[in-house]
Symmetry: C2
Subunit: 433 residues, 2 copies
């Protein structure tokens, strides 16, 4: 693996190259996606069916064949082997419990004059979830996206997932059944996002679209943003491990592999002040790599985007971490609590040697949909709050209005908005009647 040292000349340039995650502009993708969206908006089902037949080589001859009925979802769940089903149910239970813990609630307070101010919380009415299909089908992703929507009280959860050649992944169907998905369509790509954003004769329009997808899906989500909400535009996945040298080098190597095996764009970094630990991790990587079933992907990913980085001390490690704002941050140290206060940006923090990212990916409870590519500087994990809205509440009575009216009127006149001033003063000067 690439080795960098924070004290050496040239580190800054090498580090910047390593953490530069900018995706080159894809004008061709954007234009193609815009055309698909316009077409689906104009022609609805007919366009969706055509694109699905053409791009996914799906044999369906009518739109109805692109919906997977509830009975089929349920059958997939019932057909799961016992151990797998138990694991899926255990994960679902923990994800649900975490979502419950972060639910937004109504709150309000009264000011000194009896005016009540606050917020009431309402769920989004309809949510659309994009689940990747085909080669990379992730039932865990179905749970992570759908369960927070269910906990929020979303009225209808609509899932779309491509089925190349018409083949669907039974685990994805089973997870959809377990997560309480209301309708499931085997439609993918920009055409699926367009259908969810605008609605067609068959596919219900939704209010927000979440879930990961390829470059076309990402471009489509960006283009329909505003018509509907989106949670984020996801980039390649990444892990940063801060190691004080007290951890097992084999565990560190496996954690780097777990990130790198996603795809060749994934990024796995480990930072430590302990040179001997870095040597040991490098040796473990060499030793354990040949046994990895996904060795080729891991090798490519580590070669392109991986690094072992030496720093002077853990404070320097934390400083680098804050510059990276990693999606996943593992604090592979004996006393993670001592570092946490200084961690400013990260999607999820895995505390101590017994908390590998893999727990968070599947079953710890917190969501695995996390901000990538430095966006943890300003955004957070997908959560139940993504499917809830806060409605502000202003409730003044006559005595309280008498206090607010002159303030509002003064400011309104200062902005030249005279009707605002008159509207406020109407409530301020006299009792009603």
């Amino acid at each position: 693996m690439r080795r960098l040292d924070n004290s050496e000349a040239g580190f800054e340039a090498a580090f910047e190259r390593l953490i530069d995650r900018e995706t080159p502009a894809q004008a061709d993708v954007d234009a193609r996606v815009a055309a698909i969206i316009a077409d689906v908006r104009a022609r609805g089902d007919a366009a969706v069916l055509e694109y699905t037949r053409e791009l996914d080589r799906h044999p369906a001859r009518e739109m109805a064949a692109l919906e997977v009925p509830h009975t089929r979802l349920k059958a997939a769940l019932d057909a799961m082997p016992g151990a797998q089903r138990a694991a899926l149910e255990a994960a679902a239970e923990r994800i649900t419990q975490f979502a419950e813990s972060q639910k937004l609630t109504d709150h309000s307070y009264a000011d000194a004059h009896g005016n009540r101010l606050g917020q009431v919380v309402r769920p989004i009415e309809r949510a659309g979830i994009y689940a990747p299909g085909g080669k990379a089908a992730y039932p865990s992703s179905v749970l992570m996206n759908a369960l927070p929507a269910r906990v929020a009280g979303v009225g209808q959860v609509v899932m779309v997932s491509p089925a190349p050649e018409g083949v669907v992944n039974d685990w994805v169907l089973a997870a959809a059944a377990l997560a309480g998905v209301d309708r499931f369509f085997t439609v993918g790509g920009a055409q699926a996002v367009a259908a969810l954003a605008w609605g067609t004769e068959t596919i219900p329009g939704v209010d927000k679209i979440v879930g990961p997808g390829n470059a076309y899906v990402a471009a489509a989500k960006r283009q329909v943003f505003g018509r509907v909400g989106i949670e984020s535009v996801a980039g390649p996945s990444e892990v940063l491990i801060l190691a004080d040298g007290t951890g097992d080098p084999d565990w560190a190597a496996l954690d780097l592999f777990a990130q790198a095996e996603h795809d060749e764009d994934a990024r796995a970094l480990l930072v430590s002040p302990d040179a001997a630990h870095l040597d040991a991790v490098a040796a473990a990587v060499e030793r354990l790599l040949p046994d990895q079933p996904r060795r080729a992907i891991i090798e490519a990913s580590l070669a392109r985007h991986g690094a072992l980085i030496q720093v002077a001390d853990m404070a320097e490690a934390v400083a680098l971490s804050n510059r990276i704002a990693p999606e996943h941050l593992e604090l592979a140290v004996d006393a993670p609590g001592e570092l946490l206060d200084d961690i400013r940006h990260a999607g999820a923090v895995f505390m101590g040697h017994y908390s590998p990212e893999a727990f968070g990916d599947y079953c710890a409870g917190p969501n695995h949909v996390l901000p990538t590519g430095r966006t943890a500087r300003f955004s957070s994990a997908l959560g139940v709050y993504d499917f809830q809205k806060r409605l502000s509440i202003v409730e003044a009575g006559a005595p309280g209005a008498a206090r607010l009216a002159p303030v509002a009127a003064e400011l309104a006149r200062g902005e030249g908005l005279h009707a605002h001033a008159a509207s406020a003063e109407a409530r301020g000067g006299r009792d009603r009647g």
Copy 2:
């Protein structure tokens, strides 16, 4: 004013036309903005200065002249007339108090096996705020955007605001001083958004950009989304009044005016089951309009986008409201609490006759930056939470890890991610050492 009746043929079509808020695609604006962003990114200060001289006809000959120093902000605040300053301070205090009430906090829980799950909250490091300048300069907007950032604990608040011909609005400067803005640049348009997103030699790059602006600003925010966070892309402002007929028709007319006076794209609607009340409001509009200083704008706005709508009962009124998902919803009724439970989508709800939107625009406390154009279906008011991030926390110990490991491994193997399984199982089988 236009009068519609829900029971008449043709209502649906007329209502749909009224609430269709789609902005036509502006390919020319998008292309121009993309070019400005690329130029600012490439040439930094030099490009910002050129655009500001050209587009805003600002006389500055160097970048330093585009920064307003603290002493000048403070002087503007000190120079405010007493009544105006008192109003601004009263509003600031109430906005701050409301923001404090909605601050996100850390929370966590332990599962039955001693694993700790939760979130820690961190402020965004640097926030950029766009404040419109020139003709429409709104100090209230400065407070509403900057104070939640301050309450969140944002490290640096950077404000940009155009100063056509070099002229700045003293109230805006005063509000910036009061809100604790750290740096203030008289730069506007897409060039200001680009500078905040990418940083220049003089203007610090920020993590999130909020605040209203014209079509160029909106397009620029959309284009830099992903590089930085944005709160929303704002459209024209709107109010919907649901009236049971117990209100003063003059108050209703003034509230409609207050919305309509913003600009000719603003929308003001009133819905009631009481025909006599609708007649009385129409009469009040006629009678009070001639005295309005902004009469021309109000007339144009009401003619284009205003309506008085008759419905059968208040349930129908609420149903129409939920279809509109209004930015501002006034419940001009005697018992607003009885309606609130059925309100599903709105930016802010103003409860009862003594709670006009104008209170919320200036000083009630809740933010006046609200979702427009049906986006209240999936989004909320700007708040302190827009300047905070949640970092998920997973902290397992050896006994808890032994429970999580087999679940994660089972699911990982089902997805073909073998290194994930190995990483999990490394923690599950043995104590460390």
